[in-house]
């Protein structure tokens, strides 16, 4: 029974990683850049929700929607101001700019909201459901997290596969020049991708802080790195890959903590990642790339 409870905990944590990783992967797929500021957008989302629900006493649902709206706007602004001017140049320059944006968000948050940790109360309360005659207790937030992850996964698959803008996204990640010739507005499509990615980050921020209730300006940094790892683990640029990578990472982390060592759990996660990449150099579901001279 403890095994099952660890497994559920792992899937729940993994679902949060998966939602963040989806944002990473979509942005990477379309602009081939590692958006290091993504983790800090999570933090901003969590703060917005915190202030909306606990300071202004708005209902949790409104708080979450407000967080999503703010992060969407933030994501689009970041893309327009910091990344768009660098679209044509080497990816390392964009990487450094993304790091700059990440520093900026962290320090702005520290100035606005101080570095004192805020205690975030779960948006769905801390009720728990007892299963198997009380042997297994699953909190509501765990279920909500897993459900949110599944819904987001299905919605995104439908969105990229069936809608016009979703198809435009796939076309742009395939070949920007050709997409433009077909009448697709590349700038608009990239903005929408950033908007969707940042909205997902807001959801992830709220879910993360509901499960692990300390909120600080650096809250987003480590989950951001882990989710980035998850995206690469599953094969960066692939939506099902990000999902699979995120959940596996969460499960490995929780099992590592429970059965091997709390201190070494991060080392175990990263060691598994290295081993997987050695066997499958482009991640679990990544497409092999043929190299030409």
């Amino acid at each position: 029974m403890t095994f099952l409870s660890y497994l559920i905990g792992g899937i729940s944590l993994g679902s949060v990683y998966a939602i963040i990783a989806l944002g990473y992967t979509m942005v990477y797929g379309i602009s081939k850049m590692l958006n290091f500021a993504h983790g800090d957008v999570i933090m901003v989302g969590a703060y917005v929700c915190f202030f909306a629900t606990f300071r202004w006493n708005l209902p949790p649902a409104v708080g979450v929607l407000l967080a999503i709206a703010m992060c969407t706007i933030l994501g689009v602004i970041i893309e327009r101001l910091a990344y768009k001017p660098l679209r044509a140049v080497a990816s390392l320059a964009v990487l450094i700019t993304a790091i700059g944006v990440s520093y900026f968000l962290q320090n702005a948050a520290q100035l606005l909201w101080t570095s004192n940790p805020k205690v975030f109360t779960s948006v769905v309360g801390d009720a728990a459901i007892k299963l198997f005659g009380g042997q297994l207790s699953v909190s509501v937030i765990t279920i909500v997290t897993i459900a949110a992850c599944i819904v987001i996964m299905i919605a995104l698959t439908w969105f990229t596969g069936n809608t016009k803008i979703g198809k435009a996204m796939r076309a742009c990640s395939e070949d920007k020049g050709a997409a433009q010739l077909m009448g697709i507005s590349v700038n608009f499509t990239i903005s929408v991708t950033f908007a969707v990615g940042s909205a997902l980050a807001a959801v992830a921020g709220v879910l993360l802080c509901s499960a692990y209730p300390t909120l600080m300006p650096t809250t987003g940094a480590m989950p951001g790195i882990k989710a980035f790892t998850a995206a690469v683990f599953g094969g960066i640029g692939s939506i099902p890959g990000a999902m699979l990578g995120g959940i596996l990472l969460g499960v490995i982390e929780i099992f590592g903590k429970a059965y091997i060592s709390t201190q070494l759990s991060d080392a175990i996660v990263f060691a598994v990642l290295i081993i997987v990449l050695l066997v499958k150099p482009t991640g679990l579901l990544g497409k092999p790339v043929n190299e030409k001279v």
Partner: protein, 358 residues
């Protein structure tokens, strides 16, 4: 008499610049005196310069993105300090002991470089970057669980326990105390040691880059398949660049750690790796001059921005973004090119941060 080649001339200019900077700072210190905050930054600046030059070997010359350079620094820092503390009785002469510790730190970091270097050969681009990032985190985690002590019988090592498990004899002392790191380090690093290490690093890197091996490494960067087809052994040269880079980072780690009385593994985290990468990219990929100046200027800037207090890191972030946008702006580059003739991106990068100080 043999004529001095153009590359050697250029290299002598870099050595000369470092020695000149050293002389000027020493002179200023002796006469007018330099501010305490700058003085405290001298050894870290030297360590960061060595880190930036060595990372430039991986990122600029070999062309592989590394996000875990601080991991090698960490290996060098901890092994170097352990070596220095345990050799205290054997080698009483401080500069010699420091040199031996740095060499031990460099060797251990180099060995770690071989371990990480092997997967490097199979992976490309962002997948490689994530492996180096993962490595940096693993090193940090492992050192946090490591306990090392010394007594009359030699070194004792214990993993995942606590300092009591070391079973130290009488007069034994704990060196690495798990997450507490190393405390009670005798500060033996000074500015002179730092500058000597910079000169050694420059000597190694510049000679490597301008040698047959260096040209092979750059050929791999420019086109791996083409280089392989003309008979350049990929494994050998990639590993060579990677391991040299790691070993130099190890020596820098020893230098850095010996400047503080306590050192913990979490100091060498992802953010430190990123900081070094920022130096390299702002200085210009493959540009050794750029790395030296960017590392020095960007370490001083946060100190100079002290008057902004809480806003200083915010200003630093804005400066960083603006510099990246400005140096990559085609209109501005063309303008500068017309004004100053041919301007490399690294030159603009050097000028921009100094504007941000005002």
């Amino acid at each position: 008499m043999k004529k001095i080649r153009k590359t050697s001339y250029k290299n002598f200019l870099i050595y000369g610049f470092v020695i000149l900077a050293y002389a000027v700072l020493r002179l200023l210190d002796g006469t007018v005196g330099i501010s305490a905050s700058l003085k405290g930054q001298l050894v870290p600046i030297c360590a960061y310069v060595v880190m930036a030059v060595s990372l430039n070997l991986t990122v600029g010359v070999l062309g592989e993105l590394s996000l875990g350079h601080a991991g090698f620094m960490s290996v060098g820092a901890f092994t170097g300090v352990v070596a220095c503390m345990s050799l205290e009785a054997i080698i009483p002469l401080v500069p010699l002991r420091m040199a031996v510790s740095m060499i031990i730190g460099a060797l251990c970091a180099g060995a770690a470089g071989v371990l990480v270097g092997i997967p490097v050969l199979r992976l490309r681009g962002d997948y490689l970057a994530i492996v180096t990032l993962a490595f940096g985190e693993i090193i940090k985690n492992i050192i946090n669980c490591l306990y090392v002590g010394t007594d009359a019988r030699g070194l004792h090592v214990s993993f995942l326990t606590n300092s009591d498990a070391l079973n130290l004899g009488e007069n034994g002392r704990v060196i690495i105390d798990g997450p507490m790191g190393i405390s009670g380090i005798t500060k033996v690093s000074d500015f002179t040691t730092g500058v000597v290490l910079i000169l050694v690093t420059l000597f190694i890197v510049l000679n490597l880059v301008n040698s047959r091996s260096g040209r092979a490494i750059m050929a791999l960067r420019d086109n791996r398949i083409a280089a392989e087809s003309v008979g350049i052994p990929v494994t050998k040269y990639k590993l060579m660049a990677f391991v040299v880079s790691a070993a130099l980072a190890g020596a820098a780690g020893t230098l850095y750690a010996m400047n503080y009385s306590t050192i913990v593994a979490s100091k060498f985290n992802f953010n430190t790796s990123i900081l070094i990468l920022v130096f390299v990219v702002l200085g210009g990929l493959g540009n050794i001059w750029g790395s030296i100046i960017a590392a020095a200027v960007l370490t001083i800037i946060p100190e100079l921005l002290r008057q902004f207090n809480d806003y200083r890191m915010l200003v630093y972030a804005v400066v960083l973004i603006l510099v990246m946008l400005a140096t990559n702006n085609p209109a501005l580059r063309n303008l500068l090119r017309r004004v100053v003739g041919r301007v490399s991106p690294s030159k603009i990068a050097k000028e921009e941060p100094s504007d941000g100080q005002i």
